[in-house]
């Protein structure tokens, strides 16, 4: 009986779909989180919030 990690290979077909569905959302979610950071909007949870400079224009804080 062919198996991987103790589970017969036939069972891995179903498990791979499940694992794919778990991994899949990380792709676009990480992209969204990056967009939030780039936006600099503090209330969205950006790690690099914008700050006002003397002229009242908004600029990004230098990344830590």
């Amino acid at each position: 009986m062919e198996s991987f990690l103790g589970i017969p290979t036939e069972g891995w077909k179903a498990l791979s779909i499940w694992l794919a569905v778990i991994v899949f959302p990380w792709t676009y979610s990480l992209y969204m989180l990056r967009r939030i950071d780039k936006s600099g909007v503090a209330r969205w949870g950006s790690r690099y919030p914008k700050r006002e400079n003397k002229e009242g224009e908004k600029e990004k804080e230098v990344a830590l």
């Binding site: 009986m1 198996s3 103790g6 589970i7 017969p8 036939e10 069972g11 077909k13 179903a14 498990l15 779909i17 499940w18 569905v21 778990i22 899949f24 959302p25 990380w26 676009y28 979610s29 969204m32 989180l33 939030i36 936006s39 909007v41 209330r43 969205w44 949870g45 950006s46």
Partner: protein, 517 residues
């Protein structure tokens, strides 16, 4: 009397009271009561999300499916439900953007589609769909847990129902904060209980590898009188289903669940967009651990009991494992985990039903404004009334309730998927589209489901997929037939800063509660 069980119940009850009290103390305003003040951190929100996600239906139903059909349950059900989670970050990314986010999903319908009206009918329609769906689903959850508690403890079914009602009432009375904190505790109970259960069953089947090796050769019938399982077929990704049927099952399980109002509400309670996105992502990993334990219970159960005793269905596998293969202490903890799973799902649904009634319908349609405190008090009274109603219905559920429960998430999907996703991602989506999408989606789902159930229509394409396609199609047509949505409707979800005109419209709607007469 089973003193071990009594002891575990008392400890569980005391800890639940402690978390309820903490939640109650955090609830100072209507925002706290309805949506946790949009302030929950990642840790609490994950607990809130995961406990709601894992219901008694999953804890008892997943091992039952694995026992009967093997890994086909992973393809159609595990993957389908997890795909619903995969869609939630897409909702979260837009839904939590506004500076002053909505409190409920029906309120989102109002602000996004008819921000200028004094009394929103789309908010009422969305609320009615929510109320009907949740009342039916909660009734079935209460019935399920009543049967389990009475079987495992020896209490009568009726007493078990009312014991469960007391627990629901304790946890909901403080609103979303008390549910969130008790859910955090319940997540711990569920995860610990199920890991313990799997760890206890694995040695009895010879360990992980031996369990699957033995399952490969199972060729008995799962239940007395059922056709025997073909050796090796427990690992087939399709089982006895055709490919099209399996695709249908996958989408039926995923699309509806992704927009059931209690999920977006968990995204709303997060303190910011980042937390809202990370909540379903990280919760999925925790829930996956739980599902691996359920996999052990289902497949391990089949190895230990190749055929269920006469008169028992596969859904009795977990109670059977508890009574026959676990010592009283472990069994009691696993029972607490099942109870926690049922409680954390049912209490959230009862609260959303009551809030839909008071906040989205009564406050919305009242001529005079309602004071925040009065609204909270009315919601608390209704929580009691609705909990009691669901419990009374669960005493002897009418036939239509049991039948309709299967279709609740499909109804949510058909009614809400178009208005939510199009509303958040397509500026043009207008009021007419929202009415058409919600009403046409819900009605076509009911009609298609009835026709396929009566075998008057082939079920090659599932009713939910058809209904959603029609709903989205009607929304696109209406969005082009009628003028595009005004800026005040879409701006909060698309722009970083909103214009003063939009701000004044949002303030007007939201302050109907804040600055009460």
């Amino acid at each position: 009397m089973n003193w071990t069980l009594v002891g575990i119940s008392l400890v569980y009850f005391m800890l639940l009271l402690y978390f309820t009290k903490r939640g109650y103390k955090k609830s100072d305003s209507l925002d706290d009561f309805t949506v946790g003040g949009w302030s929950m951190g990642l840790f609490v929100n994950i607990g809130f999300f995961a406990a709601t996600w894992i219901s008694a239906a999953s804890v008892l139903g997943v091992p039952s499916m694995l026992y009967g059909i093997g890994f086909a349950a992973v393809t159609g059900w595990f993957s389908g439900w997890f795909f619903a989670n995969a869609l939630l970050p897409i909702l979260a990314y837009k839904l939590r953007r506004p500076q002053f986010p909505v409190r409920t999903i029906p309120e989102f319908m109002r602000l996004r589609y008819e921000p200028f009206v004094d009394k929103s009918k789309i908010q009422v329609i969305a609320s009615l769909i929510t109320i009907v769906g949740y009342l039916i689903y909660v009734t079935i959850q209460i019935k399920g847990i009543g049967i389990i508690v009475s079987t495992m403890t020896g209490l009568s079914y009726e007493v078990s129902l009312f014991v469960f009602l007391v627990f629901i009432m304790i946890t909901v009375i403080g609103g979303v904060w008390s549910i969130a904190l008790t859910d955090l505790f319940n997540t711990g109970v569920i995860v610990a209980g199920l890991i313990l259960a799997a760890a206890f069953i694995l040695p009895q089947v010879g360990g992980w590898d031996a369990m699957f090796a033995q399952a490969m050769f199972i060729n008995t019938s799962p239940t007395v009188g059922a056709p025997p399982t073909e050796a090796g077929s427990l690992f087939s990704p399709l089982g006895t289903f055709t490919l099209s049927a399996m695709i249908g099952i996958f989408f039926s399980n995923s699309l509806g669940a992704s927009v059931a109002p209690h999920w977006p509400t968990r995204l709303l309670s997060a303190k910011n967009v980042r937390t809202a996105i990370l909540t379903p992502l990280l919760s999925t990993l925790l829930i996956a651990v739980v599902f691996i334990c359920l996999l052990v219970l289902g497949i391990g159960g089949r190895v230990l009991i190749p055929t269920m005793p006469e008169g028992s269905g596969t859904d009795s596998i977990v109670p059977l494992l508890i009574t026959q293969f676990m010592n009283p202490l472990i069994g009691g903890i696993v029972l607490a985990a099942i109870f926690a799973a049922a409680l954390s799902t049912a209490n959230g649904m009862v609260l959303h039903t009551a809030i839909a009634l008071t906040y989205d319908i009564i406050r919305n349609m009242r001529r005079n404004k309602m004071d925040d405190k009065k609204l909270i008090r009315l919601t608390q009274v209704l929580l009691g009334v609705l909990g009691l109603l669901a419990t009374v219905l669960a005493l002897k559920p009418p036939a239509f309730v049991a039948l309709a429960a299967v279709y609740v998430f499909g109804l949510f999907g058909a009614a809400f998927i178009g208005p939510l996703y199009l509303g958040l991602y397509w500026k043009r989506t207008n009021k007419q589209a929202a009415y058409a999408g919600t009403i046409v989606g819900a009605l076509s789902y009911i009609v298609f489901s009835a026709l396929t159930t009566m075998k008057l229509m082939p079920d090659t394409i599932p009713a939910i997929v058809l209904a959603m396609l029609i709903s989205i199609g009607s929304m696109v047509i209406c969005s082009y037939l009628f003028p595009a949505a005004p800026k005040e409707a879409w701006e909060p979800y698309f722009e970083e800063e909103i214009s003063p005109e939009t701000q004044s419209v949002v303030d007007k709607v939201m302050k109907q509660v804040e600055h009460s007469a």
